[in-house]
Amino acid sequence: MKKAFLVILTILIVSMAFSVTTITISGWPGNPDEEAAIKAAVDEFNAKHSDIQINWEPIPGNYLETLKTRISAGTAPDIFYVDVYFFEELAGKNVLLPLDIFIKKDNFDLNAYFEPLVEAFKYNGRVYGIAKDFSTLALYYNKEIFDKYGVPYPTNEDTWFDLLDKALQLKRKGFETPLVLAADFNRVIPFILGAGGKLVDDNLNTALDMPASRFGIKFYIDMVTKYKVAVEPQQVGAGWIGEALGKEKVALAMTGPWTLGFLKGSYPDVYKKIGVVEMPSLIKKSTMVYTVSWSINRSTPYKNEAWEVLKYLVTRGQEIFVERAGVLASRKDIAAKDTDPIKTPFYKGAEYAHPWRVPTPTGIFSVANDQINSRLKDLFYGKITLDEALKQIKENYLDWVSGK
């Protein structure tokens, strides 16, 4: 009797294992809200499908390094996050599955997504991922500090010089560290583009030494070194920009919607004092868009099932995600339902934003990014002049992006 039972149990387990396809999806673990949201989305899918089950398996810490290692070992998840920042490198090495065939077969409508976000995950005319959400940069300010020192709030129409003027007013009136800036290339890009500059020329060589680009970089650096209205977050004892804002050490910061969630959770009192407006502009409006796609592993044995899951994740899954985790929707119809006024400046930014992706001949930008950041840091500390830095960048840039 016992034996018979065991045999039946084994047969049951084996047959179940054969009929159900488990698709492992992976990304970096988010904050508790995001984790709960993704679990809710996964549970809903699993409840509706008997043949496909999703298994959410986040990779904590050093995501890209771990992912690359697992890809090379052949143990990567079936579907995973791809940040637009390293998208080109992965797409160029053919580890992502092109989705065009599936999109065509299913008549899946890519026009339902914001165009810059669709373009962000195209490589050689093929689509390698669909944006799960996005973040743009906007200008945060602390109303209480502005009130206290009697300085007018920033507005959506402010130019760079309005920003500088307001920061200088705060400083003159005794608030020593009005603005927080990071020595990060991606934060300088809105200034480069806002001044009418370019990141790369037509041959994919660097265009940072163009007069307009140079002007943008100079303005960014000058706020730190010449006008002394901006500091790095570490200067005020904060690990990053959001923390500097939360500790009320600064009155102004340019950062993304993730800071909203952070402030709400860790500094609820400060959250109530925060206002958000669009990034200041010069010749034209500009901001950065950071976005992450769901992409399929090219060597997954379950391509069709993975596509079914991906489709769910970027439609109904995204709806759950936007509702519960407060991220910005990459799908226009879901974005239209999202009426939280504090998110408006971020959605507005999506219209003129530039994705955080610098095209290179090989798809590899990480070396150049480190090198440029290192020089930005030197510029913040006055170790080199801007012309020296630009000269070094120009001379070595092609080497850095060569991938050798």
């Binding site: 890209l64 490198e89 053919n94 004892g237």
Partner: protein, 383 residues
């Protein structure tokens, strides 16, 4: 079988787990790293040829027509672009050499013919696909073999600014940390060996940092060194301006050195303590009867008799310092202050240059080996 052989076999079987572990996780990686340092190994290429595709679908997508709508090769010939098909639709990573092989040897006609006849509608590995349609040169597509570069990786180091910076930093770090921590550990050990009250408490306090995880210590020191941190507040009483110790490129490395000395001195103190216990009491007594001062006892008795321990501590310290990684990883945000092992990590896992990273680690290995060798020459081992 002889009893002895049987016994030997049994012995090896018992030792097999550890033999295999050492072979797989120690010996093989060393040789692999040596080999990779002469190549352009990129881990993202490793599984490329194992990927499975359906050639019919790939070709349908490439041509923009369904197989069922095509009746002859001539209809589609003009729309077929070999390189873009292989690179992007089939998805084989090609470098210049392989592009050449594909252009010269790929049998496009056969492929298109099979497509029209509907023979392609099956999943197959890229390696199999390539071997089927390449007239020759299929051996280059069997599995991923990185290109052999000879000494190119090593030549590249000569012009690599961050190689120089990171190696210099590692040397600078070692030159300061090793003597200071050795001396400090020695002093602590002598103090802990004396008969003062509460000596156990001191021993424990000195030893605790070395059993604390470096992540925790890094966090504590991050707070100490940050601009509004304790250190700046303390210095503020003496009228010093606050400095962001870890962000300022000039102070970041020394700050980490101090932290490391504090962490490891206690660990090496234990080594010296063990050595001190070995020194016979009669020698101290004889010295004291002859009227030697405590200073003289330290320099003339303790120091010479601790030579083997000093050699051990200096060697281990040098190896540890040349490889310092975790504190740099946690606390340093500036490429100017990185050390060589952090740079190796960056190349291997962030830049995808596993070959170059292997070459760097080979250089580091040679440097550490020769440093250790020199140390052993300078301080002769007595037993």
């Amino acid at each position: 079988m002889k009893r002895r052989t049987r016994e030997a076999i049994a012995g090896y079987i018992f030792a097999l787990p550890i033999i295999l572990t050492v072979l797989i996780f120690t010996i093989y990686p060393i040789f692999a790293a040596f080999y990779y340092s002469f190549t352009d190994y990129n881990p993202l290429n490793a599984r490329n040829l194992e990927t499975k595709i359906n050639p019919q679908e790939a070709l349908e997508f490439h041509l923009g027509v369904f197989q069922t709508d095509v009746s002859s090769v001539d209809e589609i010939k003009d729309y077929f672009d070999l390189l873009s098909f292989i690179k992007y639709d089939v998805g084989v990573n090609l470098d210049e050499n392989k592009e050449k092989i594909v252009l010269e040897n790929f049998d496009s006609e056969k492929l298109l013919k099979d497509f029209v006849e509907g023979k392609l509608n099956k999943e197959m590995k890229l390696s199999k696909f390539m071997s089927e349609y390449l007239k020759s040169g299929a051996k280059y597509f069997k599995r991923y073999i990185p290109n052999f570069l000879g000494l190119e990786n090593f030549k590249k180091m000569l012009n690599d600014q961050y190689f120089r910076i990171s190696l210099f930093n590692a040397f600078f770090y070692t030159v300061i940390v090793v003597p200071v921590q050795t001396f400090l550990a020695l002093v602590l050990a002598v103090a802990a060996n004396s008969k003062i009250k509460g000596v156990k408490f001191f021993k424990l306090t000195f030893f605790i940092p070395s059993i604390t995880s470096s992540a925790a210590i890094s966090m504590i020191f991050w707070m100490i060194y940050s601009k509004p941190g304790i250190l700046n507040r303390f210095l503020g009483y003496f009228g010093f301006q606050p400095i962001a110790w870890l962000e300022n490129p000039n102070t970041a490395l020394p700050a980490i050195m101090i932290m490391n000395i504090w962490t490891t001195a206690g660990y090496f103190m234990v080594t010296f303590l063990a050595g001190l216990q070995d020194i016979p009491k009669s020698i101290y007594e004889a010295a004291r009867i002859d009227g030697a001062t405590p200073g003289k006892i330290f320099w003339k008795i303790i120091l010479p008799l601790l030579k083997p321990q000093i050699l051990f501590v200096a060697t281990m310290g040098t190896i540890g310092c040349m490889q310092v990684f975790d504190q740099i990883y946690f606390l340093i945000k500036n490429m100017r202050n990185i050390t060589i092992s952090f740079y190796i990590y960056k190349n291997a896992f962030e830049y995808g240059n596993m070959g170059y990273a292997s070459a760097l680690s080979l250089v580091l290995f040679v440097i550490i080996l020769s440093l250790t060798f020199i140390q052993r020459k300078l301080v002769k081992e007595t037993y």
